[in-house]
Amino acid sequence: MDLVDVMMEKGFLGQDFLTWLWYKSEERGGTVYLPEAGDIQLVFEKHMLLEYGEGESHEKVICQGLQAELKEARTGLAMGKKIEQARILLTRDNYEWRLTLKGSLLELKSVRLPKTMTSTEESDDPAAMEGRILDRISMFELVHRTIDELFRAFLQVRLGPDWQTDIAKIRVWVNKGRPA
């Protein structure tokens, strides 16, 4: 399969990951356990994009609201829509990132890094500039590695023998979002 075919045929993998991640986040009140890092904080914030169908029947729904009020998104999920994009607050090792995760391509958009340097370290001498670049790169790599670790945790469940047990629980959670 070439890259275009992979993107077309397997784009669902990232979207399914986002649905699982939202469920995992809500299961423990915004905390997700990672074998590599222990408990990290992961909260789905006020912006979410859901998709449904392909080609001419393709639909998009943008949901915005406070964290506790992503009701429309929950309803969309219960109607069979897939999460294509979600705004996430992620905290690990006392560092806090805000980012938008795009499901089908696992792109990280509008990433806001934690503040790690004081203003005195932000001078223009070469050593300080190199330090600043390395600091920013490490923060970009750490957030990407965290997403990879979460994705690995999802894959272990998704491809493992207990997936049917897990999907049953997720379906109960999804169906709670149906309008009464």
Partner: protein, 201 residues
């Protein structure tokens, strides 16, 4: 939206191929060869090349190096003279009218109209100011990964070609399926290859 922006967007690539021996010497030569050349004082339509992440005017890396620890950090600068479709259409119609009046003919044939279009495009391109776009990247040499700070598909395609031209190495965009293949073991890879979308309701 780059490496130093308060809000950055990026994708990750795997760098495929063997790094040459004496990599930093090789990189120095290639980056100099493929560095950005200014087209402000010429009529060229497009120019593309490497500049410092700190300063888009620093294509000789006088003020800051691209070598940062075990990373190679660069910006890809693309300057392009763009002609708007509406402006091109207007000037073509104006020139067609002028020629018809001058020659006292009711209409122009297809080849005449095409020639006018070519000439007008050239004239407007020469008049246009080159518009710069700058995209940062950071290449982790030990892990063979590269972060590219743009989610624009056209910019990604230009980077992939220019990176191959400069370093002789291929960039493979890490979409979820390829990332997944790296993250799981051989048995799970087989399951993954046949996996279908899940129904969550």
């Amino acid at each position: 939206m780059g490496l130093f922006s308060s809000s950055a967007s990026f994708v990750r690539y795997a760098v495929e191929g063997e790094l040459p021996e004496n990599f930093w010497d090789f990189a120095a030569g290639q980056i100099a060869r493929y560095s950005f050349r200014d087209i402000d004082d010429s009529y060229e339509e497009q120019s593309m090349g490497w500049v410092s992440v700190h300063n888009m005017f620093d294509s000789s890396f006088e003020y800051s190096s691209y070598a940062v620890g075990d990373y190679l950090v660069l910006s890809l600068r693309i300057d392009e003279r763009k002609v708007s479709k509406a402006a091109l259409k207007k000037f073509c119609l104006k020139e067609e009218e002028r020629i018809k009046k001058e020659r006292q003919i009711p209409r122009l044939n297809r080849s005449q109209r095409l020639e006018i279009k070519e000439n007008m495009k050239l004239m407007l391109t020469k008049r246009a100011v080159p518009i710069p776009s700058v995209y940062d990247l950071c290449w982790n040499l030990s892990e063979g990964t590269l972060l590219f700070f743009s989610t624009n598909k056209k910019a990604q395609a230009l980077l992939e070609d220019y990176f191959k031209e400069t370093f002789g190495l291929y960039l493979v965009l890490q979409v979820p399926y390829l990332t997944a293949m790296h993250l799981v073991g051989p048995d799970e890879q087989n399951i993954l290859a046949d996996l279908k979308p899940e129904i969550f309701v």
